[in-house]
């Protein structure tokens, strides 16, 4: 328990550091975003708008420390300001819906890829030198080596456009109202199939190879040898003795991946016009929407930290050696 709180404390500190950087970085830049934005519109904005923009960015004449405190207060209340591109929607509502879709899409993709890749890795190591061990890794490595956007576009062209098995974009059919009903959920799954599928295909090889390699070394360890000598059934030797221990390094990787996909599903969402965070970020960059960008960066940071904290907790549960002093 103390360990979990200690880690939580560490991550809170890291989150605070991220918030602070997020506040000071724009202010360290020459000029300010409001002026830059104003200049970009070349006189199409009236001077009053300049003042509104400055306020939207929190650039009040207050001293820096005062601004900082106001900013922290706003962030803690979930107030990231007002979006420029989607004026006058607050950034928090825009990020909210995008975040949900991204969490669904990226979360599913990473979870499926991790579970499938890990199982394949276990199987490849157990039947070392078998067809799964000799054919799959190079095939998956090949798929993983293609630029992801190219793979995604080919999949979209073949399965979405030519064969028309899957829809071409968006998270659900336009003629449906979101809700907990079967047609809507079915539509969501159909729309997620291609984006999730391409991410899984592109990342499966990595999970499989890392699990396979750890598994091979664990299979050579004394305790697995003892488990076999004890006459335990093979399933127990593989799962409880070998895979259970080989899983530990992969779990760390899983936490990292989970955090990064929240920001890194950018390409997926652009290719499949998926209304998630990555898509929002693209739009924010294109329309110079600084408040939205800042909000998204902050959410990504917090997501990475949160995922890592969850992995710490999972690790505690998985590896008794980390439980010391708790």
């Amino acid at each position: 328990m103390r360990f979990i709180l200690q880690r939580l404390g560490f991550y809170l500190l890291a989150a605070w550091a991220a918030l602070t950087l997020n506040f000071f970085l724009p202010r360290l830049m020459p000029g300010d975003p409001a002026t830059a934005l104003f200049a970009r519109f070349r006189g199409q904005l009236r001077p009053e708008a300049m003042q509104a923009l400055r306020e939207a960015f929190g650039l009040t004449p207050e001293p820096l420390l005062g601004q900082y405190i106001t900013y922290l207060g706003h962030v803690l209340r979930g107030d990231f300001g007002v979006s420029v591109a989607y004026f006058p929607s607050p950034v928090s509502t825009i990020i909210g819906t995008g975040l949900l879709w991204t969490m669904f899409l990226a979360g599913t993709a990473v979870a499926v890829s991790f579970v499938l890749g890990t199982l394949l890795g276990v199987a490849a190591a157990w039947w070392r030198g078998g067809w799964m061990d000799t054919l799959l890794p190079p095939a998956l490595a090949l798929l993983g080596a293609f630029p992801y956007f190219w793979l995604a576009m080919v999949a979209l062209y073949v399965f979405g456009f030519q064969l028309a098995w899957f829809p071409l974009g968006h998270a659900y059919a336009d003629d449906l109202t979101p809700g907990m009903n079967l047609p809507f959920l079915a539509s969501v799954l159909r729309h997620a199939a291609l984006p999730v599928g391409t991410v899984v295909v592109a990342t499966l090889g990595g999970w499989m190879l890392s699990m396979r390699n750890t598994m091979v070394s664990v299979l050579g360890s004394d305790y697995v040898n003892l488990a076999r000598a004890k006459g335990l059934p093979p399933s127990r030797v593989v799962l409880r003795y070998a895979a259970r221990n080989a899983l530990l390094p992969s779990v760390t990787g899983f936490g990292m991946a989970l955090g990064f996909v929240l920001g890194g599903s950018l390409l997926t969402e652009i290719v499949f016009s998926y209304p998630g965070q990555g898509y929002l970020l693209l739009q924010a960059v294109q329309s110079q929407d600084y408040p939205l960008m800042q909000g998204i960066f902050l959410v990504i940071t917090l997501a990475v930290l949160g995922a890592n904290w969850l992995v710490d907790i999972a690790y505690l549960w998985l590896d008794p050696r980390t439980r010391e002093g708790s």
Binding site: R128, L219, G220, S221, D222, Y223, N225, L226, A227, R228, A229, K230, G231, L232, P233, R236, R240, Y241, R244, N245, L318, D319, P320, R321, E324
Partner: protein, 321 residues
């Protein structure tokens, strides 16, 4: 004379590598009688542990058993199918591993690791019975039952090795292979544990194959001793006879390298040189480059193991003429 419980016949093991196989155990034959304690000694890499793992068929790749038989109670373990072998493992033959540190699964409690052995062989009808038996087993090696819930990292090296012994005795085997059971322990704990094993052996009467590189300990414990050098068995004799009248120059050298238990006033000396690479063993007798008394024949022909007495055999041209 009684039938041997374990009879190793011409056993060979190869490590497959990119530049061809490396022979780690070369045509070794050795018998064990029921209830007998046989010591196996030799320098690191001489094939002792390889033989132990080959008997249970748990050699990790790239090692492969390339020939021979392991007859246990008359049945060839090497020809047995996996299912039959699994029942044989631990119910009849158990093993205590070399490294107390690495032989226990770090993510399972000590209790679970004893209980799963019992359950896998149907030796405990329920989880509760398995726990009770596990507690009893820990008791026989001097560990309190509240350690059942401990994870291996929470135990000292000595305790871990005791747990290893408790697991080995779980199903009352007829043969226990001790593969350098005290290597990772300090001298005092080592003595305690060996005395405990001896005590248990006397009480239960299982046969023991005791593998070590510590000849002094072995001569105290074993009835009979087999000496290995560079993947081959070079001498086998009753412990007393070996101590007083070892015939192979390598055994004699080994004996001079260890202090006598009886405090005999002999100068200690080591054998010059180091064991040959198994990748390209020397022609003739493998010991000849380090042997002080080698003659021309030793450089040319490999000596066979020849009987010198009822239970004494050695592979040396000089003793067999």
């Amino acid at each position: 004379m009684a039938e041997p419980i374990l009879s190793i016949r011409d056993l060979s093991v190869d490590y497959v590598s990119a530049d061809g196989p490396v022979r780690a155990l070369d045509h070794v034959s050795l018998d064990l009688m029921p209830g007998e304690v046989v010591g196996v000694a030799g320098e690191s890499g001489c094939g002792k542990s390889t033989m132990a793992q080959a008997i249970l068929r748990i050699l990790p790749p790239p090692a492969v058993i390339s020939g021979g038989q392991v007859l246990f109670e008359g049945r060839d373990l090497l020809a047995m199918d996996e299912g039959a072998l699994r029942r044989m493992r631990w119910e009849r033959i158990a093993m205590v591993f070399q490294s107390a540190m690495d032989a226990l699964n770090p993510v399972l409690t000590v209790g679970e690791q004893i209980a799963d052995t019992l359950r896998a062989h149907g030796a405990a009808p329920s989880g509760r019975a398995a726990r009770a038996r596990a507690a009893e087993l820990l008791g026989t090696v001097g560990i309190h039952a509240d350690r059942l819930e401990s994870f291996p990292h929470q135990l000292s090296g000595g305790m871990r090795q005791r747990v290893g012994i408790a697991i080995a005795l779980a199903l009352d085997p007829a043969l226990v292979i001790l593969d350098e059971p005290t290597t990772a322990l300090d001298v005092i704990v080592e003595r305690e544990i060996l005395e405990e094993i001896q005590e248990l052996q006397r009480k239960r009467g299982f046969a023991v194959m005791f593998i070590t590189h510590d000849l002094t300990r072995m001569l105290q414990f074993a009835n009979r001793v087999a000496i290995f050098y560079a993947a081959r068995l070079v001498e086998v004799a009753p412990a007393g006879e070996l101590r007083m009248a070892a015939r192979h120059p390598y055994t004699q050298g080994l004996l001079r390298a260890f202090p006598s238990v009886h405090g005999g006033d002999v100068d200690l000396s080591s054998i010059p040189g180091s064991p040959p690479s198994l990748r390209s063993p020397p022609r003739g007798c493998r010991f000849h480059p380090r042997c002080a008394v080698a003659v021309d024949l030793c450089r040319e022909r490999e000596p066979e193991l020849v009987a010198l007495g009822p239970a004494h055999a050695a592979a040396c041209h000089l003793v067999t003429g």
